[in-house]
Structure formats: structure tokens, C-alpha cells
């Protein structure tokens, strides 16, 4: 995993909103884009792993950062 918990939450929230917008409010290319981006954000938020971060060898989750947000 390379995403901090705050980022996972943000990705989930934005992703679900984009999916809803894509299916319910937008049409044409914008709708398709919203659905694709929403899906990517939702999935990467849920699993906590971003392939782009992985390629760039970076991320928002650090050893101390991961500890900073107790979620359990």
C-alpha cells in the first residue's frame, strides 16, 4: 500500500461522487470520463495502492504517516 488513510478516504468520496454524476447527471464524453476516473479513484482508494505512485516510487503513506491515523 502506498496511500495514506486520508488519501484513501478522499479517493473513495470523490470516486463515488464521479460515478454517480457519470451515471445520473452527465452525458456523452463527460459521462464516460467521469465514470472511468470515478472507477479508478474508487478502486485505488479501496485497495490503498496507486500504480502511478508505485512506478514513481513515491506515495503519501510513510511509516510514521501510516501510524498517524488510527482507523481501527
Amino acid at each position: 500500500m502506498n496511500e495514506a488513510n486520508w488519501e484513501r478516504g478522499a479517493r473513495l468520496a470523490i470516486g463515488v461522487v464521479l460515478l454517480i454524476l457519470g451515471f445520473a447527471a452527465l452525458s456523452g464524453v463527460l459521462a464516460v470520463l467521469a465514470i472511468i476516473v470515478g472507477l479508478i479513484l474508487t478502486v485505488t482508494g479501496a485497495v490503498g495502492w496507486c500504480p502511478i505512485y508505485s512506478v514513481l516510487k513515491t506515495g503519501t503513506r510513510k511509516l510514521t504517516g501510516a501510524d498517524a491515523n488510527p482507523s481501527a
Binding site: M1, I20, L63, P70, S71, A72
Partner: protein, 138 residues
Amino acid sequence: MLVTTPHCPHCRTVKAHIEGIASSVKGVAYREVSAPEEPDLATEFKIKAAPTLLAFRDGEEVTRHVGAASAAEVERVFHAASGAITKPRSFSISAENRWFRSATGVALLVAGAALGVLWLVLLGAVFMTSGWYDRFFR
């Protein structure tokens, strides 16, 4: 071996569980490693988050648990190190992952049902399952 960091709330919880369990599991040596003080060890064992509890047997890692752990999960790691579990469960979901996957699943299930989009409902079901599957295959 428990890998910790100084300001890690889950580390304190896991250490408390270990103190309650370590004496009851025979033949297991326990060591705590502070990742900032021993960065080489953290790198060698590919530690991504703290706490990480690793079990070794005959010098080989047999299982590990990353993140917050219940007493039962800590006990499972100790039993894996002692050899009481010869084929340790290789999967276990941390509390934070369980929460995130469940939240995603619920959000997609609700959105999919409200919008009438079947594949969103199915995707939600997949995430719900991925957050809890370890409970069904103990």
C-alpha cells in the same frame, strides 16, 4: 519480531496483546524492533507500515501481520512461529483495510442499486467480499 515506530497507537495495542500471549506460547523468542532506530532491518524485511508482526521458523519467515491486530491474530502469528500451525493462514486483513473495503462496497452497492447499474452493484459485492473473506476461511 514486532516492528514499531515511536508514535504508533496500534503498536501499543499489539504489544499489549503480545505481553498477554508470549508467555503462554513456548519456544518462541520475541524481539521488538524500532523502525527509525534500525532502518536497515525495516528495509531488509520490506516493512511498509507499523506495526508489522513477523513470525520466523528455522530462520525463514512463515507469516506476518501488518497493521492493527486482535489478540487472536497475534496468537496465530506466535503459533505459526512455534510450529503449532504448520500451514499458517497466509491472508489476513487489517482493520483499516476491512473498513475501507466495506465502505467502498456499501457505497457502490447503494449507488448501483439507486442508479439501476448492475455492474456497480456487483463491484460493491466484490469489495464487500474482499473485506471479509478471511473470516470465512479461517
